[in-house]
Amino acid sequence: MSFLQQALAIAGKDLRSEIRSKETVNASLSFALVILLLFSFAFDPGSEETHEIAGGLLWLVFAFAGTLILNRSFARELVNDCLDALISSPASGAQLFLGKCLANYVLLMIVECVCLPIFIIFYDVRWPKQAWLLFLVMLLGTWGITVIGTLFSAMTVNLRLRELMLPTLIYPMLIPALIGAIQLSTVLMAGEPLGPDSAFGFKLLIGFDLIFTILAVALVEIVLVG
């Protein structure tokens, strides 16, 4: 089997398990909706100030909700020692990591696609004229969250406090990606044209995704086996 086929087999396994158990998507979606609701009490949804920080609020929701999905990514392999069965198979650490990344990416995108329209309604934001660009920002930003989160999920899988450790470790790492995604999303949701600063935002997101994908693929074997 090719590199990609093995990664897809692992991704397919994770998605099939999730479709049957629905444990992480339900938890993540409920959590995201609760945060959206709480934010709508904390900030006046109609005010100009809230519209100026709309991108930040949206990505905080995505980052918080994403942690719940990413936390379970490797933890679900602890049941019946399935992680040992995967590591002792011919699938490489990189294939295992990419398979898990793909599954987490799909799940997180589903949660985001449900949350975005609700956010737009709650916060009285106009549907962006360039919605496809906002979707592109979501694709790039979510990949960054997924790559970092999946790698640290593998690192913390054997820790008793992994639910606490994962967000503590990944949020500081995600700052560059979140800065790019927040900046671009705020501009797009305000209906403003993209300026030179926006190009920097895209470069930041693409660079972040590339660098951390390569680093994670190179390091994951050491993380898993030592």
Partner: protein, 232 residues
């Protein structure tokens, strides 16, 4: 050439030496019973042979290559403490997944064949979470054997098995030995293990206390080895 060559292997958990200067070979086609009390280091050694952890010092050569090399892992079957089976997948889906990961050409067909061989064909579409303990264990045995491995690493394979699963496993192990495959199994069930074993290694507090062929005395009196080479 030896199927497994272990040379001067050390493993530490913090400062605690779990394995100390372990060296021995296992010839191709042999069945080695890896014996020792709880905490002696049997599982630690088997995990290193399976490529699940690395030695702090020393070297391990499996089937002529590194334990973590893809080609080596393709030829190893591992049955550890956990069954390595997914609860939310069906029996068939579990075996098909591992058949794919092991690069088997016809994963569907091979998965069905092994479900039949382990008597699980009638529940092939049932989710593992609904299976009894014995059914799960037979499925785990199928997972470890489905790619026809040249080397089988079994950690306490007979523990908590029901009669049917023991019969299935013993039949498969005898068949594997007849085909010239190599088996290394750690166990506390001395009688079952020594009946199959051609060789024995006893680990005592992380050190190799005995390594040799299985003798008639061991078979007649399974406690003999512990009395002569194990701690009091």
């Amino acid at each position: 050439m030896s199927a497994v060559a272990i040379e001067g292997v050390w493993k530490f958990y913090g400062d605690f030496p779990a394995l100390q200067d372990i060296s021995f070979n296992v010839e191709g086609g042999a069945c080695l019973a890896l014996l020792g009390r709880n905490g002696a280091g049997k599982t630690t050694l088997l995990r290193m042979l399976a490529g699940l952890s690395k030695a702090a010092r020393g070297s391990i050569t499996i089937l002529g290559g590194d334990a973590r090399a893809e080609k080596t892992r393709q030829r190893i079957g591992v049955l550890g403490h956990g069954i390595g089976i997914y609860e939310e997948l069906s029996a068939f889906e579990n075996l098909r997944l591992f058949a794919r990961l092991y690069g088997i050409e016809n994963p569907r067909q091979v998965a069905m064949e092994w479900l039949e061989r382990t008597g699980l064909e009638r529940v092939s579409d049932g989710l593992v979470r609904e299976f009894s303990r014995g059914m799960r264990q037979r499925l785990a045995v199928a997972r470890a054997f489905l790619h026809n491995p040249s080397l089988l690493l079994l950690d306490e394979p007979f523990t908590a098995l029901d009669d049917r699963a023991i019969a299935v496993l013993q039949g498969l192990l005898k068949g594997a030995l007849a085909e010239g495959r190599t088996i290394i199994m750690s166990t506390h069930q001395l009688r079952e293990a020594l009946e199959l074993a051609t060789d024995v290694a006893l680990i005592n507090r992380g050190k190799l206390a005995f390594r040799g062929e299985r003798s008639r005395e061991m078979l007649e009196d399974p406690g003999w080895l512990y009395r002569h080479y194990g701690e009091a």
